[in-house]
């Protein structure tokens, strides 16, 4: 298991902690009525985004979902611009025009979160088509949830990706719930079998184990670059929070005991930390230092973003069209 070096492991750990801290701060911003609109927390799923994105390079592309902060951080985004975007400030990644559900980071290959369930699957497949046609060896990862397997678009694009052998990895983050309904009530049959029906190789992995995710991702990304794609991964994971930040009392669809069990036994950060200290790669002090530094970073970024200015009103009709029009 110990394939990468210490630096890589610590970076993985740090990225997961960054995501957790970002979400905690974002949650607070919402609850204290400082953030406009709604957002969707990724807490609990960190190993999925980090495990996969650590196998990608900057020019590889990802598409994200409404639950997109984790992917955004994992693909290299900075706290300041992310918080600014969530608050609708001018320095946000999208100049405040996208918000949490449309956050995109073009320079890091993040083609954007999408508020339409399954809405970015076409875009991801198209990015893979571009890569193949233009002869880059870029790979695209399409993140989506178990709920999106109900969207027709998924089948249309997987069909074409398979027909044209596109370098795209469809990563299904199965967190057991599609909004407020259990997955087994909205997805008939097997999720991986859907991909296999198109002749696409499909894999299942424990989404809480960052090393397992990363290991699988590295293999599939390498094969994609050789033209062996597409691929499909189902990652078993869990979101600690509700569907969105206002979904606080959830026991009508999800039991507290279940939530407690995942927190206690399947937390990706806790477990990876335990593995690192167990293997002697890092000691608790180093991990604590990382935790503290990231927390401070996040707090500073939030303070910065709260103070930052909104875009000027004159920007409202800019960027409808590209170029002089």
């Amino acid at each position: 298991m110990r394939q990468a070096n210490t630096e890589t492991y610590l970076r993985m750990y740090r990225q997961m902690v960054r995501i957790r801290n970002f979400e905690d701060q974002a949650n607070q911003l919402y609850l204290s009525a400082k953030m406009p609109g709604l957002t969707h927390m990724y807490s609990g799923e960190e190993a999925v985004a980090v495990g996969i994105c650590e196998a990608l390079k900057v020019t590889d592309k990802i598409t994200s979902t409404h639950r997109g902060h984790g992917h955004c951080v994992a693909k290299g985004a900075e706290f300041k611009q992310m918080f600014c975007e969530l608050l609708g400030k001018e320095e946000g990644y999208c100049r405040g025009k996208g918000g949490s559900m449309h956050i995109a980071d073009q320079s890091n290959g993040n083609l954007g979160a999408n508020a339409i369930v399954g809405g970015s699957m076409g875009i991801a497949t198209g990015a893979a088509l571009s890569a193949k046609r233009l002869g880059t060896d870029d790979v695209t990862v399409c993140f989506f949830g178990d709920g999106a397997t109900a969207q027709g678009l998924m089948y249309e694009v997987m069909n074409m990706a398979a027909l044209w052998s596109l370098p795209v990895i469809y990563a299904c983050e199965n967190n057991g719930y599609s909004e407020y309904t259990r997955t087994d009530e909205i997805a008939a049959g097997s999720i991986t079998a859907r991909a296999e029906a198109f002749g696409i190789e499909a894999f299942k992995v424990d989404g809480q184990d960052v090393l397992a995710v990363n290991d699988l991702a590295q293999k599939l990304v390498a094969r994609c670059r050789k033209g062996e794609g597409p691929f499909f991964i189902e990652l078993e994971t869990y979101r600690y929070h509700g569907h969105h930040v206002g979904d606080i009392n959830r026991d009508y669809y999800r039991s507290k005991d279940e939530e407690k069990a995942w927190h206690a036994n399947r937390d990706p950060i806790t477990n990876f930390g335990a593995w690192l200290t167990g293997e002697g790669i890092a000691d608790q002090g180093e991990l604590d230092a990382i935790n503290a530094a990231v927390k401070a970073d996040a707090e500073a970024a939030v303070a910065y973003a709260l103070d930052a200015k909104y875009p000027d009103g004159s920007e409202v009709d800019m960027h409808v069209f590209a170029g002089a029009s």
């Binding site: 592309k61 598409t63 946000g92 990644y93 999208c94 100049r95 405040g96 025009k97 996208g98 449309h102 995109a104 073009q106 083609l111 954007g112 999408n114 339409i116 809405g119 970015s120 699957m121 076409g122 875009i123 991801a124 497949t125 198209g126 990015a127 893979a128 088509l129 571009s130 890569a131 046609r133 233009l134 695209t140 027709g152 678009l153 249309e156 694009v157 069909n159 074409m160 027909l163 044209w164 800019m318 960027h319 409808v320 069209f321 590209a322 170029g323 029009s325």
Partner: protein, 331 residues
């Protein structure tokens, strides 16, 4: 004597010339390769450019539209062929929620340089789900440009401009005009967006027509001229952006206007143009601006019924006479 080519050939030329010029352009849609589409427009392209650049898709409109959007966001310039304009309803999320809004939602950082080529026009006996003219619906969405060629000349010039535009552009070709010939010059031909064309000058009444309604207006103008009514015919060529300067100048000259379009009468392009004229040239109007669109009915199959539903030269002539006589149009 300038050569005359069909609208179909003009489109083919435009695509081929652009694809030779820029390798990032590719064509994607149903039956676009060997079959050249059911309208035989793209015949020959796959032989020149290969299946890598002329891509046949399964019958999966949302799918290949979404793929085109993603490709456009990542360095390619796709031309999407949507076999019938009626199918635009199938791709609305990818076109209107994704393509149209991506540049804006990303604060100007992501571009979607794609062209959606589709068609419009009734009286082909294709019934309600293959005869619609739905340009008004997408013209309503900020972030999309809409072009409406009225002949082979515009079909070539507007398509080439569309392909070079960094924004999502929807072009509606009139499916009944694919075999109609018109003079088209050799060589480079780029028609800019937002520039209307005055097809016939006149002094008594302005007739604004889109797509094949330009020909309807021109026929009406001929007959009206014999009665001593001098009609000016204007082809906006693109409805987004819309050239109101030319339209206003004409209406201020003539003080009377009829707008003719093949979308349905209610809530359509004619209403938008008429409203803008009313706002901007109000004190120059000597009569109401009259809208003439297709009837507000699903397009019927029977020829006896279908032909009644669309604007005709006779209808335009009758309306023009009424306007000139100062009659009222109240209900």
């Amino acid at each position: 004597m300038m050569r005359e080519i069909t609208l179909s050939t003009a489109v083919n030329e435009a695509i081929a010339e652009e694809m030779r010029r820029d390798e990032t352009i590719f064509l994607i849609g149903e039956d676009v390769a060997e079959a050249g589409t059911p309208f035989k427009i793209t015949s020959g392209l796959v032989e020149e450019f290969g299946t890598d650049r002329v891509i046949d898709t399964p019958i999966a409109e949302p799918g290949f539209m979404g793929i085109a959007v993603g490709a456009a966001m990542t360095g390619s310039r796709p031309i999407v062929d949507l076999m019938f304009g009626d199918f635009i309803f199938l791709i609305m999320d990818q076109l209107c929620n994704q393509a149209a809004k991506t540049h804006y939602m990303s604060g100007g950082k992501l571009n979607v340089p794609l062209v959606l080529r589709t068609n419009m026009g009734a009286t082909r006996r294709s019934a309600a789900q293959h005869s619609q003219s739905l340009h008004a619906i997408v013209a309503h969405i900020p972030g999309l440009k809409i072009a409406m060629p009225s002949s082979a000349l515009e079909a070539k010039g507007l398509l080439k401009t569309a392909i070079r535009d960094d924004n999502p552009v929807v072009i509606f070709e009139d499916k009944l005009m694919y075999q109609d010939k018109a003079p088209v010059p050799e060589g480079e031909l780029l028609i800019p967006f937002g520039q209307a064309n005055i097809k016939r000058e006149g002094t008594d009444i302005t007739l604004i027509g889109t797509s094949s309604m330009v020909q309807v207006a021109e026929k009406a103008a001929e007959t009206l001229a014999a009665e001593g009514i001098s009609a000016e015919v204007i082809d906006p060529r693109t409805i987004v952006p819309l050239d109101m300067d030319t339209i206003n100048a004409s209406v201020r000259k003539t003080s009377r206007c009829i707008v003719i379009d093949e979308g349905h009468q209610s809530f359509g392009v004619t209403s938008e143009i008429a409203a803008r004229i009313m706002e901007q040239s109000f004190y120059h109007l000597d009569g109401p601006v009259i809208r003439m669109g297709a009837m507000d009915v699903p397009i019927p199959f029977s020829p006896a019924l279908e032909d009644i539903t669309v604007p005709t030269p006779e209808g335009v002539i009758a309306t023009a006479r009424k306007l000139m006589a100062g009659e009222m149009f109240d209900v």
